[in-house]
Subunit: 351 residues, 2 copies
Amino acid sequence: MRCILSICLLVSSLALPLTFPAGAQTPPASPRQIPARTIPVPDTVSPEMRPLVAAPPAAWDIHPKNNKEWNDLVAAGVARNKALLPAMRERLGVSLEPTSIGGVSAFILTPKEIAPENRSRVFLHFHGGAYVLNPGEAGTREGILMAGFGRGKVISVDYRTAPDHPYPAALDDCVAVYRELLNSVPAKNIGVVGTSTGGGLALALVLRAKQEGLPLPGALAPGSPWSDLTKTGDTFYTNDLVDNFQVSYDGYLADAAKVYANGRDLKDPMLSPIYGDLSGFPPTILTSGTRDLFLSLTVRTHRKLRQAGVIAELQVFEAISHAQYSVNAGAPETKEAFEEIARFFDAHLGK
Amino acid sequence: MRCILSICLLVSSLALPLTFPAGAQTPPASPRQIPARTIPVPDTVSPEMRPLVAAPPAAWDIHPKNNKEWNDLVAAGVARNKALLPAMRERLGVSLEPTSIGGVSAFILTPKEIAPENRSRVFLHFHGGAYVLNPGEAGTREGILMAGFGRGKVISVDYRTAPDHPYPAALDDCVAVYRELLNSVPAKNIGVVGTSTGGGLALALVLRAKQEGLPLPGALAPGSPWSDLTKTGDTFYTNDLVDNFQVSYDGYLADAAKVYANGRDLKDPMLSPIYGDLSGFPPTILTSGTRDLFLSLTVRTHRKLRQAGVIAELQVFEAISHAQYSVNAGAPETKEAFEEIARFFDAHLGK
């Protein structure tokens, strides 16, 4: 009897799950305390992805104080990446050719075999790295995956980076390459792909194309897009330190937003395209993971596109942190993510 | 110089985000400790949804010891829900009529105006509640939302519940209603909708229809589906106590799985359809939220469907806990979720 009573008390004093009535409670709009927790290494990711998911948090609490310190940070990452990308290209049979398009440095990534449906198409790639990291070849990682798994030609833009070149340098470079591409490729045959900062740039490119009266690309694939440079969105809190890749907003990420914006309002739609007018956008596929610090950014962007009437699909991978689906070419999740993007592009791009 | 050195040390000793190389680290596959945290009430949900998102966690740590204690738990929820659903029906202009179909108790929910494209269609609804809660009218909440926002006729199945009626009673009842419906409605014109347990039942219905050689429904809308009765999936840990609606697997939810299974293997595909063969499934739209305890279940189901070549879309709402998009008829997120389901149904159902 005591047990039954305690159940009744619980039910009457608190909301009963699945029957919680709207407005039946007037909860305090105060922050909630979540206790410390242990999160096991999930057995619901592939064995190949498991080491990435199981890794301790990456370095994030770094606050470079001047251009020199930023550039030292960049250099360390570049050296590391450059040493590894040749093996990825080899594995996927992708060749790399440096070039210049519209006055901007870029890389052409070509798979051994271009799928028949992609022969007249180009995948335009903008890399990630908080507008600061991954200049040069170091920025081609996702482009290699797109070329290999998507079986199409990729042009990866080596845009100028902050702090030496703050806004609008990066976006100007992306627009310049796109504008030049339009001379040889119909806009409808161009699919734009990019993760994190690259996703933000893909969205901002379309805002700029609308503003400048350029034809819009045929489709977009922003992955975990940095579509809002401010700390806005629930997973900046719920996935803080759960994400082992970007880890937290409050490290170099927040600093990078400021050095890129260079005094501009972080909510300017050209820096944070989620605040822009997304109507008329091309069909868009978004990618994220359940541990992604940017999961809220991704789903908020998805909802905003859908609210604007845009064809938009979402794929979210189990236990994956920010951008983590674009790291290991040998993990089935990586293959799946990029093959889905390629399928989506095939459904929506011109031929 | 000290600062620059510390950056270099960090970069060289830990993974540099966005340039983390595959296999460059051999992390221990040990659980990670996540410190206690404060999560603010997000300003990225609508004012109407905010009270639900801001609410303290619902009662979850309840462990009924016998049928009587389960039934007392059920009765309290029923009384509460029954008092509130008339206002929801009134708001959305939906009428309710009790009926019996194929020998099973059900409710017909009819909106004031049925959209022209839905005149020859039926939305078949299976309610949530861990196979135990929400018998009778109390189970019609989501059906009302679907009828109102989807502007179509809904049949909401009042299936038998555990522990009095364990597996396969609930599924048998759902199959019986579906089988009877096929006498008057083409399978392709039936869209099946259900959240949580209702989503699991929607998926299991298709497995049974395949097994019994019945034609398959035209489309599915499992929301945050209980597609796996075991504690499998990362968000059972990462969103534990973050979700304020279902809150945790380790309360009455785990107990309910056992009383429904009644000794069967919880991984039997008819109880946990994610372990079934999902090939040939109808087009499916899945719904979840970033705080959903069942987010992993939802995205795992989405990926499994896509891997089986099924047309499958995913929508994830910002900061929403388990099933929370199906509670407040006045919140724009609720309208959006069900209008998206209706749009998806319209794209894939026969007319």
